[in-house]
């Protein structure tokens, strides 16, 4: 157990690619946490996807022993937080476990929207923030300009910002000194009843669920009977330790310290982020503030391409869920796509990560339906039923419109940060997506614009569009700001006069016609010609709002086919059949799988 005055708990705030992981690696190396040979690249991001995308999904923490210039040895707990808004709640719990943060800004790129959002969060937690300007040895580095940005945009004193190049190992010791000197030690009372915050949890095949904790008061020891105050369960602590970054068992974790415990827990769902851990006997009476149950905000259907893979999908989703309680699923069946699952996610990145893990780690070929958000619908009473409020996760479950009193949809506040040459197109994009501008400021050649936007307008290809119209320079961040009523309707897409459930969506009445026309046009290109004409229609209720027709196929015949051509011809037929197997039958129309998502991509309007 380390004396409180010798502990420093901090996180690193940085935009993707600004060098967070490299800096973390250098700090670990400097403190002798790992030898050169043991350092695999970017130790902290240990999932493949995290490494590839340069993002952190699960919180990780490393305990370092640093002997400072004052001759004292300090225990530094470096918390690597998830870097994306989808995991905003997890981030907030990680931040709550720290007293300070390093703000890493790329000397060539400057401040980005995502950085801002994280800094604000950090400030809300009363953190001491130490600015670090990284990559100072790049030819394009402008540390003075970045220093100014930090002061002007964020409003932090950057006069003592540490200049580093994590890659070249410049300024690492200065960073560690700044951590010791500037970040305050934690407070806590070792004699008070145990109060530890559950920062994160994950499933380890050998240890079961591993729980990352920050002890506030009291001491956590092996053999202790503890209870989770929110979850209401009791467990026996069977292991206490920390990561250096190697897993190291400890005798105990005292106040102000961060470490892990295991307690023979089999599902992460039982170890909810933000919960308070206390002792069964003489425990704390009041749980820590800030606990929230996570609610998925984005939903989509996941279906196996090959219907025979359904069981495999069920199993794989179950396994993923073991390690990620924030994602939910229930069985769904679609006339077009067969059996699959309706899954809920924290956001779009979370959706993409799960989808990618399913296809990569579990080798599944999936069809993903259009993402949708959760609508709250107030229904009037009928002869047999009282008025009630329902939550709609799937457009296919849209209730009888005559019963609908009001529909509410989730809105977000989006902060976009962009070089000003792209501002015009970005404003148009936001405007087209029913955005309400609330703020616009300029700093140097950059603009920061704030919009309120309905989440259902963002959930699909907003981010892709933003990146493409700004050539990748605009950055985007959002937070949810609650539900607002909207004039929303269900739009059906009919292919050959049959509604295709997997293509139906909920849209605002004002944009329905545009959206419907766009979808019909795209489907016209996505669905191959058939032997007969195929009408494609968009409809709201019984009213057709857009229509396209796919002309009938007129020529498809092998002109010459004699004895020598049979084998070749048969291969063609096999190929044709294989192609059909990758399509979904609707009535007599075969719709290629990619059409289900591509039809919704709004493209270069």
């Amino acid at each position: 157990m380390t004396d409180l005055s010798k502990i420093r708990n901090f996180s690193i705030i940085a935009h993707i690619d600004h060098g967070k992981s490299t800096l973390a690696d250098r700090l670990i190396q400097h403190c002798g946490g790992l030898t050169e040979r043991e350092m695999s690249e970017q130790v902290l991001d240990n999932m493949d996807i995290e490494k590839e995308r340069g993002i952190t999904i699960k919180a990780q923490t490393v305990r370092l022993a640093y002997t400072a210039r004052d001759g004292e040895t300090y225990e530094l707990n470096l918390m690597d937080t998830p870097g994306h808004v989808d995991f905003a709640y997890e981030v907030s719990r990680s931040l709550a476990a720290c007293e300070g943060a390093l703000l890493v800004v790329d000397a060539a790129q400057g401040v980005e929207a995502q950085t801002l959002a994280n800094v604000y969060q950090s400030i809300e937690h009363d953190h001491e923030i130490v600015p670090v300007i990284n990559k100072i040895d790049l030819p394009a580095a402008e540390p003075e300009q970045v220093r100014m940005e930090i002061e002007e945009i964020i409003g932090l004193d950057a006069s003592e910002a540490v200049l580093t190049s994590a890659k070249s190992g410049i300024g690492i010791e200065e960073v560690l000194e700044a951590v010791v000197a500037k970040i305050p030690p934690p407070k806590g009372d070792r004699d008070a009843p145990l109060k530890a915050m559950l920062v994160d949890s994950w499933y380890d095949p050998y240890l079961g669920v591993v729980i990352l904790v920050r002890v506030i008061d009291g001491v956590l020891r092996k053999g202790l009977s503890v209870k989770f105050m929110q979850g209401g369960t009791q467990h026996l602590v069977d292991r206490v330790g920390c990561f250096t970054p190697k897993r190291t068992d400890l005798a105990d974790i005292g106040p102000g310290e961060i470490g892990f415990i295991t307690a023979q827990i089999k599902e992460v769902e039982q170890a909810r982020v933000g919960d308070t851990i206390t002792t069964v006997k003489n425990g704390a009476t009041q749980a820590l503030a800030g606990y929230k149950e996570v609610q998925p905000v984005v939903f989509c259907g996941l279906f196996p391409t090959d219907a025979a893979d359904f069981e495999k999908l069920r199993e794989s989703i179950g396994k993923l869920r073991l390690n990620d309680a924030s994602f939910s699923f229930e069985m769904e069946s679609s006339a077009a796509l067969g059996f699959g699952f309706r899954c809920g996610f924290l956001g779009l990145l979370h959706l993409e990560i799960i989808q990618e893990r399913l296809s990569r780690e579990y080798d599944l070929d999936l069809i993903t339906t259009a993402p949708s958000v959760v609508y709250r619908i107030s229904l009037g009473h009928t002869k047999n039923e009282d008025a009630k409020v329902i939550e709609l996760h799937n457009p296919a479950d849209y209730p009888d419109p005559s019963r609908i009193v009001e529909i509410e949809e989730p809105w977000i506040k989006a902060t976009i940060y962009t070089p000003d040459e792209y501002l015009g197109s970005i404003l148009k994009l936001c405007q087209d997506r029913r955005g309400i501008q609330t703020d616009l400021t300029y700093v140097g050649g950059r603009a920061q614009v704030t919009y309120e936007l309905p989440l259902n307008e963002v959930v699909f290809d907003f981010y892709d569009r933003l990146k493409s119209i700004s050539r990748g320079y605009a950055s985007f961040d959002y937070e949810q700001i609650g539900l607002r009523p909207g004039d929303l309707v269900k739009m059906n897409i009919m292919v050959n006069n049959e509604p295709v459930d997997a293509l139906s969506l909920i849209v605002h009445r004002n944009v329905a016609e545009d959206r419907g026309r766009g979808m019909c046009e795209r489907l016209k290109d996505l669905i191959p010609r058939h032997l007969f004409k195929i009408p494609i229609q968009a409809a709201i209720g019984g009213k057709i709002i857009a229509r396209e027709t796919i002309a009938a196929l007129r020529k498809d015949v092998t002109a010459k086919c004699y004895g020598g051509d049979i084998t070749r011809k048969k291969k063609l037929l096999e190929k044709q059949k294989k192609g059909k197997a990758r399509m979904r039958e609707y009535g007599n129309v075969s719709i290629p799988q990619e059409a289900f998502i591509a039809a919704l991509r709004m493209g270069e309007e």
Binding site: L531, V557, T558, A559, C561, Y562, G564, T567, L573, K577
Partner: protein
């Protein structure tokens, strides 16, 4: 049982830019060696399929009209010695309508050839140039005259749906061809095949193939004109006066056995698919090494054979007898075809059925490949 014999002669004076057949340009062909080798290949097949008198022989290529008539005669003589000839045997040879080749027609006829398939390809000199043909229209018409005087039956090949070809142009050309009075016409839509010079040309933008819709119009026009002239389609691209169909080709489409010898020739013999080495030199080498030109001999399972039978049989106006196929391959009709889809496309007028016969209606012939993908059951193709 195999009563049809195909003989491949792989050489041409020049490769046509649209042709993806097994044809090669070579100097100094050793005709003696080729004669001995083809005879050996034939004897090998006879040993495995002595199935009674042949009903048809077809010399294809390449350009078989470049073969010395004596070589043709020697091959026919051996075939007759081995299997015997049916009294009504049809012996067809593909010929180029050049003056040189026309000079051989009498000798070929004397050797036993009784039907020629003459590659006119077009009645327009410019189009012949585009198609890379070495003969002019005048020259080919003169050759046609000779052919009609030498052989009992003559068929002409034409290629249409050429880039920029209008309906009026094609109608005039086709009417003129019908006027020559042959009892059989093979009318092929120009197809850009992978691995041909035309495929490269199209890729490079040298020319643009006729679009599908106008090509489909020309196909429909072709059906009308030939039917009115008494030469209705008996198959996708083949038109004949009743009884004047090529018996040899009917063997393929009815999926009866046939023997194939010479480079690249395919055969269906007693449940086996046979294939010969394609490159002339490799084929010769195989003959020298193993006494036959076979590169592959593979048993076909019932599903494969049934899918081939449907694929070929539905090219014919007469269609297929599903009951007969079911008995022949020991598979239920429902295993072979997708009933539901078949009924759907029948209701749309693409197919016809009468008792257990199923056929492709006129409206469906131009989109036969797509139809086959619907009608032939997935089970059959997958297995």
């Amino acid at each position: 049982m195999a009563r049809a014999l195909y003989i491949h002669w792989p050489f041409c004076l020049k490769k046509c830019p649209y042709c993806d057949f097994n044809s090669h340009v070579r100097d100094g062909i050793d005709h003696g060696l080729w004669e001995r080798s083809l005879l050996a290949d034939m004897q090998h097949e006879h040993a495995l399929a002595d199935s009674g008198p042949l009903t048809s022989i077809f010399f294809g290529g390449g350009t078989p009209s470049l073969m010395p008539p004596a070589l043709v005669g020697s091959l026919l003589k051996e075939a007759e010695r081995l299997w015997g000839f049916d009294a009504a045997i049809e012996i067809t040879l593909e010929a180029n309508p050049s003056s040189v080749e026309a000079g051989k027609f009498a000798a070929l006829s004397a050797a036993g050839v009784n039907r020629v398939s003459l590659g006119l390809q077009s009645l327009d000199d410019e189009a012949l140039g585009f198609l890379g043909r070495l003969h002019s229209v005048d020259e080919s018409l003169a050759a046609l005259d000779v052919a009609q005087s030498c052989f009992q039956r003559v068929s002409c090949d034409l290629i249409y749906a050429r880039p920029g070809q209008s309906a009026d142009q094609w109608e005039a050309e086709l009417e003129r061809a019908i006027g020559f009075g042959t009892s059989h016409l093979s009318l092929y839509q120009l197809t850009i095949e992978p691995g041909t010079r035309f495929a490269t040309d199209v890729r490079r933008g040298v020319f643009e193939p006729l679009a599908d819709d106008p090509a489909a119009d020309l196909f429909a026009l072709t059906q009308d004109i030939t039917a009115a002239a008494g030469l209705p389609a008996c198959e996708v691209s083949n038109h004949a006066a009743p009884g004047e169909e090529s018996r040899h080709n009917l063997t393929y489409w009815r999926y009866e056995d046939y023997i194939g010898i010479g480079p690249g020739a395919h055969g269906r013999r007693g449940g086996f698919a046979t294939q010969r080495h394609k490159k002339p030199e490799n084929w010769l080498h195989a003959i020298a090494e193993q006494g036959n030109g076979l590169s592959e001999e593979r048993p076909l399972n019932a599903s494969e054979a049934a899918s081939e039978a449907l694929m070929m049989g539905l090219r014919l106006r007469e269609g297929v007898d599903l009951d007969a196929l079911s008995r022949r391959f020991g598979l239920s009709v429902d295993t072979m075809i997708d009933r539901e889809r078949t009924e759907f496309y029948r209701s749309l007028g693409f197919l016809w059925s009468a008792d257990e016969r199923l056929g492709v209606a006129r409206q469906g012939m131009g989109v036969l490949d797509a139809l086959l993908g619907e009608v032939v059951s997935g089970e059959l193709v997958a297995s």
